[in-house]
Every structure is written in structure tokens, then in C-alpha cells.
């Protein structure tokens, strides 16, 4: 009990001592832009960050890059945004870990009059409108469209029947769901394509390997693998190589990370969908500056998406 009283007392003391707010930076200081990503341990987001940092350097903007320890931890991402609001950054660019879950955090930024730019993954715009939550723009490429490109490519691979397996991302994850949806919608148009299995590999390389290994046991007659990201595609590639089926199975990935591009050159991967994360990062900072300066920004800034092969 004593301890609780001590805590209460000291918390109230802290409130009394709260007068350092006046020590803010004066006018004419550098613009401070926060970039909040889903994670910083995937090549995609590292490229995005590099693109953003280049622009920040050349324009003299102070850049703060933060991400939760785990990609799916929306609550931590929300905490990061709340904490950045406390430091009164001028703009926040965020790649949402949850399309609805992050809305309350964006709402808090709205209240603090900090413009929010969404990058890479869309927020649920209907829900945002209902709750009166505003964002400046969405900068990104259409994952559904990317999935569709992969599906159409698969459909045109051969006229013979093709058995396809899909490696999904984390179930319930917007990005992966859209890629998957695009892919399945596209292959529906091709009667000779059959999806014989679709299993989550949770975006991870090692899980891509393990799931592929299991699928190879169950289905000896796989022709095509579509993995919702390149890490899983690379994992699957190793598993397929280990079982000596490289010639029989073609693998299509997503994101076109550097390692995947190399494997495509070597002929170990068939294709990948290229997004341009560096471009996304560059655009994010450029438009964040415009938003801070009060210039108008279009509400959708598309970043090109394309299928690359050897």
C-alpha cells in the first residue's frame, strides 16, 4: 500500500514539474518528418527508408525513422505514433501494420494537427471517413494489381494443365490478402490452371522453406509456386532445389528484392513483381514537405508496379 501511495505522490510531483514545454524549438527550424514503418528487418522497408533518407538529406529535412520490433504489432506502432506526436514532428509518413487498427493513432495525429501520409499499405478509407479521420494521401502501388499480374503471367506460361501452390503471408494481413486475391481472381480466367494448395508461410524465409517441403511431400505434381513475397519464394526455392525438382517447378515471387532479382538472372526463380520501395520513400518525404508547407497534395500517388523476368 505504501508503495502505491509513493507512486501516486511522485506522479503528481512530476506533473508539478512539468514546465519544460516552453523550451520548444523556435520558428524557422528544420522541418522534422517521421517515417513509421512496419518493420526495419525486411529488404523492402530498408529500400524505402533509403529512398526517404536521400530526399531528406538533399532537402535538409530532419528524418526520424521508427518501426516496431515485430511487423504485426499494431499496438506498438500506435505507441510510436503517439510518442512522435509528443515530440511535435511536422509530418508523419506511416506504412500501417493494420488498415483499421491504426486509425485511432491517426486520429490522435489529426487532433495534434500533424499531417499523416499513408505509404505502401492502404488504411480502410471507408472506416476512416466514418470516424472523421483524415490523411493527406496514399503513396503506394496496388498489391491486388500485382497479384493479378502474377496470375496472368502464370496463365500464359503454358497451354497444358498446371498445378499451382500458393504461399500466403500472415493470415488476415491486408497486403498479403490483396496479392492473393489478385492472383486467384486472375487465374480463374484460365481453366487449365488449378490451385491445389494454399498455405501461410507468414512472410518468412524459413517458413517458406518448411511449408514448401511439406507441400512437396503431399503433392508430387506441382508446376508453379506463387509466393506472396520474395523471402518465402527464396525459401521455397531452396526446398525445391533440395528435392531436385528445380526443372519441374517454376517459382514466382513478389517485391523483386535484390536477391530475388539475382536468382531470376540465374534462372532459379521464374519471375517477381517489382514494387519500387525507394521511389515510395522518396515520394513520401517530398509530399510530406509539401503538406507541411501547406501546398495541395493529390490524394493518391501511384507508384508503378511491374512483373520482371529474366
Amino acid at each position: 500500500m505504501k508503495i502505491l501511495i509513493i507512486i501516486m505522490l511522485s506522479i503528481s510531483f512530476m506533473f508539478l514539474g512539468c514546465n519544460r514545454e516552453s523550451e520548444q524549438k523556435g520558428e524557422g527550424e528544420k522541418i522534422r518528418v517521421a517515417l513509421v514503418l512496419k518493420t526495419l528487418n525486411s529488404p523492402f522497408f530498408i529500400s524505402l527508408k533509403q529512398g526517404a533518407e536521400q530526399v531528406a538529406q538533399s532537402t535538409g529535412v530532419e528524418m526520424i525513422v521508427q518501426a516496431p520490433e515485430r511487423e504485426i504489432d499494431v499496438e506498438k506502432q500506435m505507441q510510436i505514433i503517439e510518442n512522435l506526436i509528443q515530440t511535435r514532428v511536422n509530418a508523419i509518413c506511416v506504412s500501417p501494420s493494420g488498415s483499421r487498427e491504426l486509425l485511432p493513432a491517426i486520429g490522435k495525429a489529426n487532433q495534434a494537427d500533424i499531417p499523416v501520409l499513408i505509404i505502401d499499405t492502404r488504411i480502410d478509407e471507408t472506416a476512416a471517413r466514418e470516424q472523421g479521420i483524415e490523411t493527406v494521401t496514399f503513396i503506394g502501388s496496388d498489391n491486388y494489381q500485382g497479384g493479378k499480374l502474377a496470375g496472368e503471367y502464370t496463365g500464359n506460361l503454358s497451354d497444358n494443365d498446371l498445378n499451382v501452390v500458393v504461399l500466403e503471408g500472415i493470415p488476415g494481413h491486408e497486403t498479403g490478402d490483396n496479392r492473393l486475391q489478385g492472383f486467384t481472381d486472375a487465374v480463374k480466367e484460365y481453366p487449365h490452371i488449378k490451385i491445389i494448395a494454399s498455405q501461410p508461410g507468414n512472410w518468412e524465409r524459413d517458413q517458406g522453406y518448411n511449408v514448401m517441403q511439406n507441400l512437396l511431400q503431399a503433392h508430387p505434381d506441382i508446376n508453379v509456386v506463387f509466393a506472396c513475397n520474395d523471402l518465402m519464394a527464396l525459401g521455397a526455392m531452396e526446398a525445391i532445389m533440395a528435392s531436385d525438382k528445380t526443372d519441374q517447378i517454376r517459382i514466382i515471387g513478389f517485391d523483386a528484392i535484390e536477391e530475388a532479382r539475382k536468382e531470376i538472372q540465374l534462372g532459379n526463380l521464374e519471375a517477381s513483381i517489382a514494387q519500387h520501395p525507394e521511389e515510395m520513400g522518396r515520394l513520401a518525404v517530398e509530399y510530406a514537405i509539401q503538406a507541411v508547407q501547406g501546398k495541395s497534395v493529390p490524394n493518391y500517388i501511384p507508384v508503378k508496379i511491374e512483373l520482371i523476368t529474366r
Binding site: 505504501k2 502505491l4 506522479i11 499494431v74 515530440t87 487498427e101 485511432p104 472506416a127
Partner: protein, 314 residues
């Protein structure tokens, strides 16, 4: 008894000094730390972990461990959300979520006490079962969009104090009384100190141990209510690795993993240390990778500091 409470006081005091020290450092480093809005922000952010850590403290005092709290949180959250979505009145929906959390805890407790299985194994299993249950229950999709009356539990303020903090303090008060003023609390310590001796002195150890895990499931479900209201969404993948944060808060707060020792006041300070640290590192704009190293180091240092204080007070 007197010397024991002095010892407890000494230990908590050590952790408390750690918290104050951390705050002073952050206050020196950044002007954004010590502001009313930021402190309220920290209290709000720490509440969820602090609530999970209540049940964890009871469990660890009995020399057990509960790895399933994060998964139970997710499961209770989606059950609560789906009942709300189905139009069930708020109190009933809350009861459904809390009931499910307690039920998972009951299964844990029964298997540990009556099945004589190690807590680590049982709760490791439940960690996977409850996560799978949450995913199956929702087909992997988050459930979002709730009435303001429910969201108020996380977004509301009483005067200027955030609701999550008020709820957290109420839970701590009730749990503190339970742990220090009731038979249940005394047995909790006794089981952790020497389970066999406790059993031989006629205490129904199996029943009490089971109830400790029920309590842990229940506090996870309370945390689920706050998390769901805060994010306006219940995700089946919520709460992954939350068990580690809760264990860290408990251990930083001076609860011994060997059982028999620990206080809720300490755990609360432990949770606040974690919250202040995360907040401070964000505000300072420190790289996310470095943050993990710093957080890990602080956990170890806090426990080290605590042990040193304990030795000196002996």
C-alpha cells in the same frame, strides 16, 4: 514478518529509484519527455502490459510461469468483439470475453495442478491452442468498428486521467488486497515458498494453484478489453510475445522466478519502467535496433540492481 516487509520495501524502493533515475535521464536528454501530455501518454501505453503482469505476478510467486497470456488476450479479444458485433449488450459481451479468458486459465491451471504437468509445457501448449482458436474463430480476419460506449473504456478520460490507467489502478488495488489481505494471497506465497509443506499443512494446493492460473487468464482478458477498445479492432494475431513484456515487468519489479516472493507494487513499477523506456527511446528517435538492445540491457540491469539492494538490506 516485520523484517520481511522491510525487505520487500527495500526491494521495491530499489526498483522505484531505477524508475526515477530513468525519468531524470530522459528529462535531461529531451524537452518532450516531462510534459503532462506525454506522462499521461505513458500511463495509457503502460496499462495493458501492467494488467497482464498482475496475473503473471501471482503465477510467478507460485514458482510457475504463464506463456499463454498473449494468445489468451487475442482469443478473449475476438470473442468479445464478435459478441459485440452480434449486438449483445456491452456487459454481457465483456463477461463473454472475461469468461473465455478465465476458461483458458482454468484449463491451464487444471492441467498443471491435477495433471501434474510443468507450467512451462502446459502454457506453451495453450499459447498455440488459444492462438489457433482465435484464428479459427475469426477465419484470420480482424473484427473492427465498435460503439463509442465501448471505446470509451480505452479512449475516455475521467477529468484528465486516461481510462486505461484508472482501470489498471483499480485492478491493482483489488489484486493487491487479494494478495496481501486474504487467505488466497497467503497461500499463493506459501505454494511458491514450499509447495509440499503447504500441502501437508492442510491447504488445498491444487485448487489454489488452479485459481492462480484462472486469475492470469482473467487479467489477460481485461487487457484484451482495453486493447480492443484502443485499436477499435480485435485481431487474432494481437498480443504476440506480450508474455515476455509481462514477465519482464514482473521480474524487474522484484518478483523471484524461484517463487515465494514478489509484490504487485513492484510489478507496477516494472511495467512503468518498460513503458517509460519505450516512450523515451521513441522520443529520442533512437534506431529501432538499438532500442531492443537497450530494453534488454535495462531488464538485466534492473534485476541486477535489485539483487544488490536485496543483499545489502540483509
Amino acid at each position: 514478518m516485520i523484517s520481511r516487509s522491510i525487505l520487500h520495501f527495500g526491494r521495491q524502493f530499489g526498483t522505484f529509484i531505477g524508475l526515477v533515475f530513468l525519468c531524470v535521464i530522459l528529462w535531461i536528454l529531451t524537452p518532450y519527455f516531462l510534459t503532462v501530455s506525454n506522462l499521461l501518454n505513458i500511463l495509457e501505453q503502460s496499462s495493458i502490459n501492467a494488467i497482464i503482469a498482475v496475473g503473471m505476478t501471482f503465477v510467478i510467486i507460485t514458482a510457475g510461469i504463464d506463456l499463454s497470456v498473449g494468445s489468451i488476450l487475442a482469443f478473449a479479444g475476438v470473442v468479445l468483439a464478435s459478441t459485440l458485433e452480434a449486438g449483445v449488450p456491452l456487459p454481457l459481451a465483456l463477461a463473454a470475453g472475461l469468461g473465455l479468458g478465465s476458461l483458458c486459465g482454468l484449463v491451464n491451471g487444471a492441467l498443471i495442478s491435477f495433471g501434474k504437468l510443468p507450467p512451462f509445457i502446459v502454457t506453451l501448449g495453450m499459447m498455440s491452442i488459444a492462438r489457433g482458436g482465435a484464428l479459427l474463430f475469426t477465419s484470420g480476419r480482424p473484427i473492427s468498428g465498435f460503439a463509442e460506449s465501448f471505446r470509451w473504456l480505452a479512449t475516455g478520460k475521467l477529468f484528465f486521467i486516461p481510462m486505461p490507467f484508472i482501470i489498471m489502478i483499480l485492478i491493482y488495488l483489488v489484486a493487491h488486497i487479494l494478495l496481501t489481505r486474504t487467505k488466497f494471497g497467503r497461500y499463493t506465497y506459501a505454494i511458491g515458498g514450499n509447495e509440499e509443506a503447504t500441502r501437508l499443512s492442510g491447504v488445498n494446493v491444487r485448487f489454489h494453484k488452479t485459481m492462480v492460473y484462472v486469475l492470469s487468464g482473467l487479467t489477460s482478458a481485461f487487457a484484451a478489453i482495453l486493447l480492443t477498445a484502443r485499436l477499435n479492432s480485435a485481431q487474432p494475431i494481437a498480443g504476440i510475445m506480450y508474455e515476455l513484456d509481462a514477465i519482464a515487468a514482473t521480474v524487474i519489479g522484484g518478483t523471484s522466478l524461484m517463487g515465494g516472493e514478489g509484490t504487485l507494487g513492484g510489478t507496477l513499477i516494472g511495467a512503468l519502467i518498460m513503458g517509460v523506456l519505450r516512450n523515451g527511446l521513441n522520443i529520442l528517435g533512437i534506431s529501432s535496433f538499438l532500442q531492443q538492445i537497450i530494453i534488454g540491457s535495462v531488464i538485466i540491469l534492473a534485476v541486477l540492481f535489485d539483487i544488490v539492494i536485496k543483499r545489502q538490506s540483509k
